[in-house]
């Protein structure tokens, strides 16, 4: 079951990355990772029936907050790609501030939720949750980063 899920995810992600336009690819893959996230996290963290309700409540609350940061990042990348050649100093400074602010907010939210999950899960489960989030987020970040232009 788990392998089938993973293979399905590979094809979903691989196909959109390879064949879709850059913007579409980011949107589709983000949606697919989000859709498969619950199944993957369930497999890895395996909350017990006693943990389940509060774990998922906390988890979706966490994802909601992280999703708002992801939306800010996508907006920023789109702005950057659109104004790449002609960005003025004021806009560039505002974008630098926004990038650093998103990164700082993400770190603070993760710290906050590590503490929350430590009250719900045993340490081994918290660590696995943290690592699987890193893995899934790495896919999303790479998808988004692929849209960042490199040329001058």
């Amino acid at each position: 079951m788990k392998r089938m899920l993973i293979v399905a995810l590979i094809f979903a992600l691989g196909a959109t990355t390879l064949f879709a336009s850059e913007e579409k690819s980011t949107e589709l893959s983000l949606a697919q990772v989000q859709a498969d996230r619950k199944a993957i996290v369930t497999e890895v963290v395996a909350p017990s029936p006693q943990q389940e309700k509060v774990f998922w409540q906390t988890y979706w609350e966490y994802r909601g907050r992280i999703s708002r940061l992801t939306a800010r990042t996508v907006e920023l990348i789109e702005q950057y790609a659109a104004s790449y050649a002609a960005v003025d100093d004021a806009k560039a400074t505002a974008m630098v501030d926004e990038i650093l602010s998103i990164q700082s907010d993400r770190m603070k939210i993760r710290q906050e939720y590590v503490k929350k999950f430590q009250k719900i899960l045993v340490p081994k489960q918290v660590f696995r949750w943290y690592q699987i989030e890193n893995k899934l987020d790495a896919v999303i970040r790479a998808e988004m980063a692929a849209s960042i232009p490199f040329d001058r």
């Binding site: 293979v7 850059e22 990038i99 790495a138 970040r141 692929a146 490199f150 001058r152």
Partner: protein, 155 residues
């Protein structure tokens, strides 16, 4: 499809196709990460394009930044290796220690980036600073994707 798209697609296959973490996968991942790291300075040079007047000071600060980030990345890699090695038999004490180390490193990385953005803002114009930051983000995202191939999906 750009080279970056191609690399990302390949990495996605590595990340999710992997079963147990084999020695081959670990080697493949390290080589990919080394490859991206080798390209980093060239990419930064091309996108930031420091002027001859900026160049000396920019590279001094940049190299110091990469050294600090490199040390933090080594700490992260150590935890991931430990996790892979002890995965099936991971106990709660180990898990707590490793989580503490990873969260500490994550905070330090954010602060290090902020510290160096401030330093570089005194050398570069805002447009160059933005390009430096976005290029670093892009390279970091590729490295993180490669590294994440080592994180097991099984319980």
């Amino acid at each position: 499809m750009t080279k970056t798209h191609y690399l990302t697609a390949l990495l996605l296959l590595l990340v999710f196709a992997a079963g147990p973490v084999s020695a081959e996968l670990q080697l493949e991942t390290r080589l990919t990460m080394a490859d991206v790291e080798n390209d980093r300075k060239t990419m930064v040079m091309a996108t930031v394009a420091p002027s001859p007047q900026q160049s000396k000071e920019f590279w001094e600060i940049y190299d110091a930044y990469r050294e600090e980030m490199g040390e933090l990345n080594t700490r992260t890699a150590k935890v991931v290796e430990e996790y892979v090695a002890s995965y099936a038999a991971l106990n709660d004490d180990q898990a707590e220690d490793m989580l503490k180390e990873l969260t500490t490193v994550e905070v330090k990385k954010v602060k290090t980036r902020q510290k160096y953005a401030k330093k570089l803002s005194k050398v570069l114009i805002p447009k160059q600073l933005l390009r430096w930051l976005q290029t670093e983000n892009k390279m970091d995202a590729t490295i993180a994707l490669a590294a994440s191939a080592l994180i097991p999906l099984d319980r």
